[in-house]
Amino acid sequence: MDRQLIGGRCTGCGALMYPAPEACPACLNDKIDHAELASTGRVRTSAVINLGRAGFPIPYFVAWVDLDDGVRVFGRADRELAVGAPASVHAGEDGLPRFGMAP
């Protein structure tokens, strides 16, 4: 079972953010609750990385996804995702966003 992606919700202004910051950049409140983020979203854009970095076997796929709850997150995808396509979102073992096809 995939783990939900965890972000932050500001207890002052209610802003939902990823990643959870130390303090809210909008209202400066420093009490940020952990918040489960949406598990689906839409691909704003994506990329295939052919020339990569140490530790990332090439090619690998990444995407920027606008989640259904309004947060935009970036992360690796298990395949090349099309611009505008729906996507599923969960947390990888490192807690970072991972994308797949929408269920």
């Binding site: 990329a47 052919n50 920027w64 935009r72 505008g84 970072l96």
Partner: protein
């Protein structure tokens, strides 16, 4: 007013120090301007990676320390940000003669991707700077039908223009087929659509208009100097780097009292070919979505029907010594406006724009965007 410019050959020269590169650029600019070293009242030095006191280290080699020296970092926009600082000081009447310098030495660090220190999660997730541009252009291709072939044409134009630029890194024409067949970096971006790692220095001498007129110096008036930083792109509906570009360009046109239709020449940020295509639109050279057609139709060529874009080869072929790039762009616009551009001269150029981006924070549109508009002095 810009009254003189100088630069080193941009190339891989690991045996040269930043002090050596900077010194050559500084003396070249002062010589062209006819300004003595002891007439410079303040200096701004842009570099991303040359380390602390870069401006002092260069100017000490030519006996010019003692004056205020400001060292500026804004990623790839460091040099243009340094220029913006000098412009602000001259406009405020703080000084009349200023030196702006940009320097970078990269080849000693090895080739391949630059990996500045960062802890943001996008970096941890594997993002690379070419992938940022790939994401931008893939969206553009999906929305507007632009093609990899059009990106390749930008690289072809860049290499062709650089043949007439003695300072450029590359002096090697390429074909569309060669560009498309070069190693993939981040689809559709191939190696020949990317700038090389380059060492170099560039400098300009800036003078208050009244002082320049007293000396009978011709030059290019800085009609606009705009610096902006990127807004967050962390929520649905937020934009991308192109939005930062549009805001900065818009402010520059307003400050200069011109529109894109008044431009004769443009130096835009083409560290990766998609950057230039997006810039055609963001700077208003063509309508949204028509950037691919702009290059396809030859409008961006020297002698083309539109604005000549990157007549010296741009970042892509001129090379990208990070901090020097913003100053080199302004040097080229100055040379174009003063009729000194040799075989790459844009005939009758009177109004030019220089646009550069800098980025090391991926949660923002970009770190910075600087836009300068220059007008040949004597024209309104």
């Amino acid at each position: 007013m810009v009254v003189g410019a100088g630069m080193t050959r941009f190339t891989k020269s690991p045996e040269r120090t930043v002090e050596s590169l900077g010194r050559e650029a500084v003396l070249g600019a002062l010589g062209e301007a006819g300004v003595q070293r002891d007439e410079v009242e303040a200096a701004w030095c842009g570099t991303m990676l040359a380390g602390a006191g870069a401006g002092q280290r260069v100017l000490a080699t030519v006996g010019m320390t003692g004056i205020p020296i400001v060292n500026v970092e804004n990623a790839c926009a460091s040099g243009a940000t340094a220029l913006a600082g000098a412009v602000t000081a001259i406009r405020a009447g703080e000084c009349e003669v200023a030196l702006v310098l940009g320097i970078e030495s990269l080849s000693g660090r090895g080739g391949g991707l630059l990996e500045p220190d960062r802890s943001d999660y996008l970096w941890q997730s594997g993002l690379t700077l070419p992938a940022v541009y790939a994401g931008m252009i893939r969206r553009h291709m999906a929305l507007y039908g632009s093609t990899a072939e059009q990106l390749a044409q930008i690289a072809v134009k860049s290499h062709r223009n650089a043949l007439a630029n003695p300072y450029a890194h590359f002096h090697s024409p390429v074909t569309v087929a060669e560009v498309l067949a070069s190693p993939r970096v981040a689809d559709p971006i191939t190696l020949y659509m990317c700038c090389p790692n380059t060492d170099g220095g560039a400098a300009v001498v800036l003078m208050g208009s009244a002082a320049a007129r007293r000396r009978g110096l011709a030059g290019a008036r800085v009609a606009a100097s705009v610096l902006r930083s990127g807004r967050p792109v962390t929520h649905a509906g937020d934009g991308g780097p192109e939005d930062l570009m549009k805001r900065a360009a818009s402010a520059a046109y307003e400050q200069a009292g011109i529109g894109p239709g008044d431009l004769d020449v443009a130096e835009v940020h083409d560290a990766f070919a998609p950057g230039e295509l997006i810039a055609y639109e963001a700077l208003g050279l063509c309508a949204e979505g028509e950037g691919g057609l702009y290059v396809d139709s030859g409008r961006a060529d020297i002698g083309g029907e539109g604005v000549a874009v990157n007549p010296d080869g741009g970042v892509l072929s001129r090379g990208h010594p990070l901090g020097a790039t913003g100053v080199a762009q302004v040097a080229e616009v100055f040379w174009q406006l003063s009729g000194r551009a040799g075989d790459r001269q844009v005939e009758g150029a009177k109004v030019g724009i220089a646009h550069v981006m800098g980025g090391t924070l991926f949660e923002l549109e970009a770190s910075a965007c600087a836009v300068h508009v220059l007008v040949k002095e004597g024209d309104r």
